[in-house]
């Protein structure tokens, strides 16, 4: 198991390094004037001068990239003397426009996005898997068709359409729920909850649909396998057969996409944040793009890549628990 984890960790590091390099090259070396872009909009002459000095223009690109990588681990100092800006590690860059480190910017926005993502993930996993299992066990009946009908609608509907219709219905027409905005949990847990119900349900509807379809397919297949017949022949209870033998095997691909989905969502629920006017990571990115704040864009891209790769790593570990064959193979 230790070797398995070490091997995966190494693979994760390499993938991250490659992604960081590509991102760095694309964003800092391709534009004709990265200093101008890093300065942000509006770009004051003083800021531009600072950016030029801090970027270390005279050093070659690999030296710049090395400084950037070192910064992610150890932190770095921009400039020197009285003007120097200290960016403690992990330093993903410094926004000259917002006068703050990218790490700080990400950390202040992260609770918003995490609240949306984790809550939604719980709801969609529960409903999606339950729907899929029920549809599979009642295959061919009206229940199956009903669940799958809802699922294909969920798969085809864009989240912003569902979200806007939900706001229109539950927010404006019925007045049951707030139409947008975010209230920190520490400030008012109840308000936090009510503000998040719509985003959770919207995301859960569209993502849960995919999980229901996937679970159903996997479940039908798993229940047709020989080991299910063996389990039944042993005289096990039907619930044990379904959950311990059927579902456990059917869940493996579900776990894969769940990890990736959650990882991606934590890196910015860009669309949901826009619909429900929440100032999370996605909003940070959109602002940075609109104001050409390059350090935020680059730092953010690498940060969200890290989340996805890390989620992949966790999924691999869970595999080891769900499917003992994985351990044997390595």
């Amino acid at each position: 198991m230790v070797r398995f984890i070490a091997y995966r960790l190494l693979g994760m590091l390499i993938v991250l390094l490659v992604i960081a390099a590509i991102t760095y090259i694309v964003f800092y070396l391709l534009p004709t004037n990265p200093a101008r872009l890093s300065c942000g909009k509006p770009c004051t002459p003083e800021n531009l001068q600072r950016v030029k000095e801090f970027m270390g223009y005279d050093s070659p690109w690999y030296a710049q990239f090395w400084d950037f990588l070192r910064g992610i681990v150890f932190g770095r100092t921009y400039g020197s003397g009285a003007d120097a800006i200290v960016c403690p590690g992990p330093c993903f860059g410094y926004s000259f426009r917002l006068n703050d480190t990218v790490t700080n910017l990400i950390l202040t926005r992260f609770p918003v996005t995490a609240s949306i993502a984790v809550g939604a993930a719980v709801v969609w996993l529960l409903f999606g898997v339950a729907g899929g299992v029920i549809a599979a066990l009642k295959r061919g009946t009206a229940i199956d068709r009903g669940v799958m009908g809802v699922a294909i609608a969920g798969v085809s509907a864009p989240s912003y359409l569902v979200g806007l219709l939900a706001i229109l219905l539950f927010g404006f027409t019925l007045g049951w729920l707030p139409t947008g905005g975010y209230v920190p949990f520490t400030q008012n847990p109840l308000e936090w909850f009510t503000h998040l119900i719509l985003p959770w349900c919207t995301l859960a509807f569209i993502s849960g649909a995919i999980y229901a379809r996937l679970t159903r397919g996997q479940m039908i297949e798993a229940m047709g396998e020989d080991y299910i017949r063996t389990a039944r022949a042993k005289g096990l209870r039907e619930s044990t057969v379904v959950f311990r033998h059927g579902l456990r095997n059917a869940l493996i691909p579900v776990v894969t996409i769940f990890g990736l989905d959650l990882g991606a969502l934590l890196g910015g629920a860009v669309i949901s944040e826009k619909i429900f006017s929440m100032q999370g990571l996605g909003a940070l990115l959109l602002d940075a793009v609109a104001s050409l704040d390059l350090p935020v864009v680059v730092g953010f891209t690498i940060f969200s890549a890290f989340l996805i790769v890390f989620a992949n790593f966790v999924v691999d570990l869970i595999y080891g628990v769900l499917d003992p064959r994985v351990k044997v193979r390595t």
Partner: protein, 331 residues
């Protein structure tokens, strides 16, 4: 000899073109979906002709159709004999024309990006599976890296640095298509790996066929079923990503009509003029639903699952990758 073997392969699977059409026609949902797609395609192609009926275009402002606050006058966002879907708030542009021309944007970008993704994916997947060795290892690692990329974040970010002079629709097609190929490549590679060991490939090689012949004439026809299903499933997700980017304000630039941008603009009007949301939103939902419905039907008709040992690779590959495509763009 070769042809007999090939024919046997095809007839054994019952995936000939005619059988597929028969299967889809027998499937109510799939045929309804196909009809919807055809209607949309025709509407997109003949958008200039269709808008001639009402004498409208998606660019002319009709400020007289609006009240003082910029909201359309009349029922359903200003629905009338001349403005079938009403008008756009603030500008009074004809919504019917906007939705029609928006179909051009959506289908044009969606289909072009899919063609790009499928072409690259099939080429890479076939060669990786067939050649194997270090080339295959590199390709597999590249695919891993691609899946680790936060694609939506990267797409949004790219729009910030690419020069404004570069035509946006082309940029969007390139970027979306670029993130689409790994999904296709992974599945095609998996199928090629198992096909490579089959007797008909060995026979073909033994008879002196070159690699190129084996790739194009022996392997490609056998993965074509998967490619067709994949293409059908990829198109709606590509359309969805274009709409999502436009919704976020980083897609095709105005005044080119785009459903996504209209929906994004509709946020501010959802309470006063919900019809502004309903028409472009409904169009986007319908076309996505239709492609998904047809994709499901085609998959049933060409199901790779029913084909023995190859099923395993393609199945896990599909569940992983088709989702990977959709991931960020739906959040």
């Amino acid at each position: 000899m070769t042809t007999t073997l090939e024919a046997e392969e095809v007839s054994g699977r019952k995936t000939g073109f005619r059988q597929v059409v028969a299967h889809v026609r027998a499937d109510r949902w799939a045929s309804a979906s196909a009809i919807v797609i055809i209607v949309f395609a025709v509407a997109a192609l003949f958008a200039p002709v269709l808008t001639l009926i009402t004498g409208q275009n998606p660019y002319t402002y009709h400020l007289n159709a609006l009240n003082d606050s910029g909201a359309p006058v009349g029922f359903g966002g200003g629905i009338s004999a001349t403005h079938w879907f009403g008008v756009e708030p603030l500008t009074g542009r004809d919504l019917f024309s906007i939705v029609l021309y928006g179909a051009r944007t959506s289908l044009g970008v969606g289909i072009s990006a899919t063609i790009l993704a499928v072409a690259v994916g099939v080429l890479v997947g076939l060669t990786a599976g067939f050649i194997g060795g270090w080339y295959d290892r590199i390709v597999s690692r590249v695919i891993d890296v691609m899946f680790g990329f936060p694609s939506l974040v990267f797409m949004i970010s790219l729009t910030a640095i690419v020069a404004a002079t570069f035509p946006r629709p082309v940029l969007i097609v390139l970027v979306i298509g670029f993130f689409g190929w790994p999904a296709v490549a992974r599945v095609v590679r998996g199928q090629t790996l198992s096909l490579r060991e089959r007797n008909f490939v060995t026979a073909s090689t033994a008879m002196g066929a070159g690699s190129w012949h084996v790739l194009i004439r022996q392997l490609l026809p056998n993965v074509s079923a998967t490619i067709i299903v994949y293409t059908t499933i990829l198109i709606p997700s590509m359309i969805g990503i274009e709409a999502a980017l436009s919704f976020l304000g980083v897609g095709v630039p105005p005044p080119t009509p785009s459903w996504g941008r209209s929906i994004g603009d509709a946020i501010a009007w959802v309470q006063t003029d919900p019809f502004y949301l309903v028409f472009p939103g409904g169009a986007l939902f319908l076309i996505t639903l239709a492609f998904n419905g047809l994709g499901d039907g085609l998959r049933d008709a060409l199901d790779p699952r029913s084909r023995g040992s190859r099923a395993r690779t393609s199945r896990t590959g599909r569940s992983r990758s088709s989702r990977a495509r959709m991931r960020g763009a739906r959040s």
